[in-house]
Symmetry: C2
Subunit: 499 residues, 2 copies
């Protein structure tokens, strides 16, 4: 190891410790913290982040990175670390302190305003806050810099290396490819499965989820499953990966599929290489890649007929009254039924990306100065008509439904769609390499899939950017085709369609 | 506010945030953390403490403290803050880095050695570790400095301002005062209460404890009750005070009285003044004072006949089978029965301080160079014979029973006894000021006591050193007499003795 690397390493370790601590503060806040602790926690978190920011922007780091850029004896993980750290260092040092603080302050107030405006559908009350945020995000993008397009600077924070041109191409391929499926599938009458409306006992739901996440490979010696209003997963550290689901006030399927989804995230975190735990190269390379794992376990595994056939008898053991009469086919149809909906978080596999396409188009137009915040509500409603053939009756179920814009993470939405597309492409590749993969699922055995993910994706961490890793895994360029094919196959079989 | 104070305040706020974060890391480790998270957590904690240490020992703090020492316009809370911070700053800057690191390293290894030596009663295996610790603790005491006695420098870390001379006087007053009680009470045959051996359902125990801590005034909007193998309380921050008890593998009384004890700690933390939350002056002044609150709620309230008479019917609602036939008198006798025991943590109110007196004598002798570590086991066994009239059959139930010495907190034990003595003295004072106080307990009403504690003790935080605060509350010097009188009254009534 080189002299410069030996000087950088303890700094990386300290940053890793601070990030791990910050992750615990957030996790605890979302899962356990008593309400009156909020003010103190906000301050502790801000203090910790300010310390981490100061450590990251220490000019000594810039000098070490320059030295290391000239080294040619670095290992792969070291080179990747230098690449990622340089991106983070440049971004952190380019942003004026004043802008960072203003963004934190403005989004704090805007989030509060959004929570008040949404229930009463009052876009006008939220509008000035969003206008200020868009203005600051433009400043932020300009300070960071970009090659072709301002929006790229924002996208790059969540999906490093990805550009709006690529995302635009992906969405048009997707919407074109899915158009015949959407027409054929969403025209059908909605099936009514009575067992979806059953009263499932919360304790039994918890027992089920605890059992299932372990079945899928989640290591409870190195992680936890808890509850929170919005399910999420947090890698506190390598031996401490925490996921949540929810039981109260939701149906069995919501508890179950949230747990499967989060297990996908958690398995990824638990599969990161221990020897790189302190290196930026040892982390997940992008939000889209992270989402690919959760989506794959939720959809390609969890909604696969082989898997639901295995799962149903286990559910019946706990819920004989509620599920006793459900047939394997009914159960599979129930967890795969698409519908036109207004709300993104309730959308199914087929329509989900159409919700995201709309948000991406609107964000792009905002940051190209082609759309004013004041015109967002109309643009939203028209976009819903175009993409999904439905029109919101209120802003609460329209332009105000998501919290993302209020907290200033413009550029994040596309990673959800990238995740679903990566998931389908990876799963198709895994199937082509692992004979009879889905047959394993009939026995509840997902171990060959997990091994494949471990060796092809998890163990690579951030050696490569997400897109490059995907190309390596797929042995060729990444596209929306596997996802479109996957959905066509699914609905063709389910509804006997010729698409 | 002065210029120097305005410069100090943000530093105090940052230190408070770091301390709060460290408290959460410890709490999570003891309550929730998955086993494989231990290594990462140890590092995060060390990093956080190292940052806090660097902030505290910044020479700028020393300069500000000097400026503020010369100010005469400071408020009471500011003056107290300067006094406490100066003590902390001096101690932190006097200790050589090498010694701090060596102590951390040596105690880490020694604790591990102790966990291995205790089950097999192998003092010889632990001896070299303890010898090294005592050597380093002497160095530490010498570096910090003291007026009369080396041990004072250690004691002072946990009970600021208290000296060994005072503790010695307290223990001799205590052992002399209690001698006739001990002779009279411990000579009696042990009563056998069958209901103490009942199988109490863990879920019902939890339901009971959750209800009881709220009855006593614990604010669950600003705190939590969880479980851990060793019950403890941690003030993460003002609106976030967390206590634990345990249900599994212990009897009902252990769950119950641990919860009442910890509630005493928690009420103290929840009663600290919000406006001083970031100031050293706004914290609890000593470990002994903290323990005074837990002991008072556990013993003076929880084992009082008026309280147990109120509690028993509530217990019977949940545990009809197990407790249905217990009379109020039997129940009260059961939770107040003293006995000669070998183990400190199982000791009752009467004998507990005798266990502590022994540990204090041994620690004092070690640090006066009057006793060698090698001679500790014999000295222990002789001391047990002298104080309690029993002799351990093994080192596991003798000199190796406590973890304290292995983690290097020599000087801590006396605070347990100080706590019990403060508790009795404060309670006697409260009774003298609040007419018919214990009659309130017959209705489960402890609100007048809590108000009295809030106004006389909690709200004062660290305006004064513990001893001075006690004198103010008591309106005169603090002594062991109220505690001795309290126990004499208790056992006179219980066993119809003439003591």
């Amino acid at each position: 190891m080189t002299h410069a690397w030996n000087q950088l390493l303890p700094r990386l370790q300290e940053l890793a410790d601070l990030n791990s601590t910050a992750a615990l503060l957030y996790w605890d806040q979302a899962v356990l913290m008593p309400p009156k602790g909020a003010a103190g926690r906000a301050r502790s978190t801000a203090t910790l982040e300010s310390i981490a920011h100061n450590r990251l922007t220490d000019p000594a780091i810039g000098e070490l990175l320059n030295e290391l850029a000239a080294e040619d004896s670095l290992e792969e993980s070291q080179r990747a670390t230098v690449r990622i750290l340089k991106r983070e260092y440049d971004r952190a040092t380019k942003l004026p302190d004043k802008l960072v603080k203003e963004l934190a302050q403005v989004t704090g107030v805007a989030y509060q305003a959004w929570t008040e405006a949404k229930p009463i559908s009052d876009f006008a009350a939220f509008q000035p806050h969003l206008e200020k945020i868009v203005e600051l995000k433009k400043e932020q993008a300009d300070a960071i810099g970009f090659e072709r397009e301002r929006y790229d600077a924002l996208l790059d924070m969540y999906e490093p290396g990805m550009t709006s041109t690529e995302v635009e191409a992906m969405f048009s391929q997707l919407t074109e490819g899915l158009a015949p499926v959407v027409d054929a599938v969403l025209g059908r009458a909605r099936e009514d499965h009575e067992f979806l409306r059953g009263e499932y006992n919360d304790g039994a739901k918890e027992q089920l989820c605890r059992w299932l996440v372990e079945q899928l490979g989640f290591d409870t010696e190195g992680g936890r499953l808890d509850t929170s209003p919005h399910p999420f997963t947090s890698g506190i550290g390598l031996g401490d990966v925490r996921q949540t689901t929810r039981y109260a006030n939701v149906g069995l399927m919501e508890s179950l599929y949230a747990a499967i989804h989060e297990t996908g995230h958690a398995l990824y975190e638990q599969g990161l290489p221990a020897e790189w735990r302190d290196l930026p190269a040892g982390q997940v390379p992008s939000f889209g890649l992270h989402e690919s794992q959760s989506r794959m376990w939720e959809n390609q595994v969890g909604r696969n007929r082989c898997f639901t056939d295995w799962l149903l008898p286990h559910l019946k053991e706990l819920f004989e009254n509620e599920l006793g009469t459900a047939t394997p086919e009914e159960f599979h149809r129930a967890v795969n039924q698409p519908q036109r909906s207004l709300i993104r978080v309730e959308a199914d596999e087929l329509t989900y990306n159409l919700h995201i396409a709309l948000r991406f188009e609107l964000e792009l137009a905002l940051f190209r100065d082609e759309l004013a915040v004041a015109d967002l509500p109309d643009a939203w409603d028209e976009g819903m008509e175009k993409h999904l053939g439905v029109r919101p009756k209120s802003h609460a179920e329209g332009v105000l439904q998501d919290m993302h814009w209020s907290i200033g993470i413009q550029g994040y939405f596309p990673t959800y769609s990238l995740g679903t597309l990566y998931a389908a492409a990876f799963f198709a590749k895994a199937e082509s390499e692992l004979d009879g993969l889905t047959d394993d699922f009939r026995k509840g055995d997902t171990s060959r899939l997990l091994e494949w993910l471990r060796s092809n994706i998890h163990s690579k961490a951030s050696l490569y950017e997400a897109k490059d890793l995907a190309e390596k895994v797929l042995g060729g360029p990444f596209s929306a085709t596997p996802f479109v094919d996957y959905l066509k196959d699914k609905y063709r079989e389910l509804y006997d369609l010729s698409i």
